[in-house]
Structure formats: structure tokens, C-alpha cells
């Protein structure tokens, strides 16, 4: 499996990343691309920008750990994850997940799995810059729930039923 994990402050070009993963290959039958984008409002109020803080080293290793886990669960041919840090303005991209496999089901499932896990376990923190000042974004219970549905123990239990 071809794996690329990269953190950067500058915007990425999703098309370039997809081409890097897939060009020249004929084994890939499905490519799923997810791009997370900075919204212009948070809780109905306009925002000027997000600032993403991260834990260098651990952020990369957590993403790589989850890519390895995805590769155990689905027969993947390639994964690219790019996550930005620093100041990000509305309309700019934040995160990219590209998954490649022979068939679409695996590529869709792996991309969703990776995004759910990144949100809950990758050490990044968003600060929102609004007219009345800066504040840290609270973690959402819905993101924990989204990650938990992939948990091995739950999956194993269901498989046994």
C-alpha cells in the first residue's frame, strides 16, 4: 500500500494529491477523496479564521497508526492524508483523505473510518477567531460517537452475534 501522511501550513491541491497517489497505476478501481473545508460561520456567527494547533510528531504517528488500522480492515491500495495547521481562513481546505482500493465499498468505508478517527484521536485543536475574540472549539460528542462505531470490541461483538 502506498501511504503518504503530511502535515503542512500551506493549502493543498486535492487533484495533485490524487494524481500522485494513482497516476500510472491500473490496479486501482476506486478513489475516494474527502476534503474538510473551513466554514465561514460557527454557531451562526461569522468567523475570521481558524487557527489549528498540533502536537508535532504525535500528530503524524497517530495518523499513521490509523492508516495502518484501516489497511488491516480493508484491502487498500493507497492512502494519502494531508492535514494543515496554523491560520486557515473560510473557504480554505483543512484536511484531505484519499483512499484507493479495487472496489468502491472499501475506499468509501476506509475514508470515513479515517476521518472519524482523526477527529477524535489526532492531536489537533481548533481555535476560532470571531469579532468578539478567540475561543477554543469544544469537542463534539457526535464525533466521539462517530469514532466509537468503528471500535474493534463493538465490531467483534456484532460479528459474534
Amino acid at each position: 500500500m502506498k501511504v503518504t501522511v503530511r502535515l503542512q501550513s500551506e493549502p493543498f491541491d486535492a487533484a495533485v494529491e490524487v494524481a500522485r497517489l494513482a497516476s500510472g497505476r491500473t490496479d486501482i478501481g476506486a478513489l475516494v477523496t474527502f476534503t474538510g473545508v473551513c466554514r465561514g460561520s460557527e454557531d451562526g456567527e461569522p468567523i475570521a479564521a481558524l487557527t489549528l494547533e498540533h502536537y508535532p510528531g504525535m500528530a503524524e504517528s497517530e495518523i499513521e497508526r490509523h492508516v495502518a488500522e484501516a489497511n488491516k480492515r480493508w484491502p487498500l491500495l493507497g492512502v494519502t492524508v494531508v492535514h494543515r495547521y496554523g491560520r486557515i481562513e473560510p473557504g480554505e481546505n483543512i484536511v484531505l483523505v484519499v483512499t484507493a482500493s479495487s472496489h468502491r465499498q472499501e475506499a468509501f468505508a476506509a475514508a470515513e473510518f479515517l476521518m472519524d478517527y482523526l477527529k477524535t484521536y489526532a492531536p489537533f485543536w481548533k481555535q476560532v477567531d470571531k469579532a468578539d475574540g478567540k475561543s477554543w472549539v469544544d469537542a463534539k460528542a457526535i464525533d466521539d460517537t462517530a469514532a466509537e462505531r468503528w471500535s474493534v470490541s463493538r465490531g467483534g461483538h456484532e460479528a459474534a452475534e
Binding site: S61, I94, K119, P123, W125, W136
Partner: protein, 85 residues
């Protein structure tokens, strides 16, 4: 025990520094005990660690639970629940 501590997001802001090396007194065995001790180190630490239940920790860049043992740790990080992606 000499230990490097790192803080992120609002934990970092409240403590007032991104990292430091501390001499942990004997008898502190777990991450939870370490947070209780940190909270006693001054007003800014109390502000950062008074709601320790919501703070996450990592030992040597791996997520751990509050009951994890700190023995042998090189670096312990404290941070709020993550909000990346």
C-alpha cells in the same frame, strides 16, 4: 523523578507555557495523581487542571488513560479533547 511536560491548546494557555521540566515528588504513580499534584503548584495550574476529568494525556506521544503509570515516561503531554479534521 525528572519529567518533561508539554501542554497544548487551552491547557497551554492556562499554565502559561508550552513545556517545562519538573521534579515529580515521590509517591506520584499515575497520570491522574500527576494532574492533582500539578493543580497544587499555583493559581495558573489550578485553573488548568481543576477539571482534570476532561483533560487528555499522552505518554511519549501515545494516548493514555488517567490511571496509566508514569514510571519510565520521558515526556507527558496534557491537552483538551481533540478537535482536528
Amino acid at each position: 523523578m525528572n519529567l518533561k511536560l508539554r501542554y497544548f491548546a487551552w491547557v497551554r494557555e492556562r499554565v502559561g507555557k508550552p513545556e517545562e521540566t519538573v521534579e515529580v515528588p515521590p509517591g506520584i504513580a499515575t497520570v491522574a495523581e500527576l494532574m492533582t499534584w500539578l493543580a497544587s503548584r499555583g493559581e495558573e495550574y489550578a485553573h488548568a487542571f481543576n477539571n482534570a476529568k476532561i483533560i487528555r494525556a499522552a505518554i511519549d506521544q501515545k494516548h493514555v488513560r488517567a490511571d496509566a503509570l508514569i514510571k519510565g515516561a520521558g515526556e507527558i503531554a496534557f491537552f483538551p479533547p481533540m478537535t482536528g479534521g
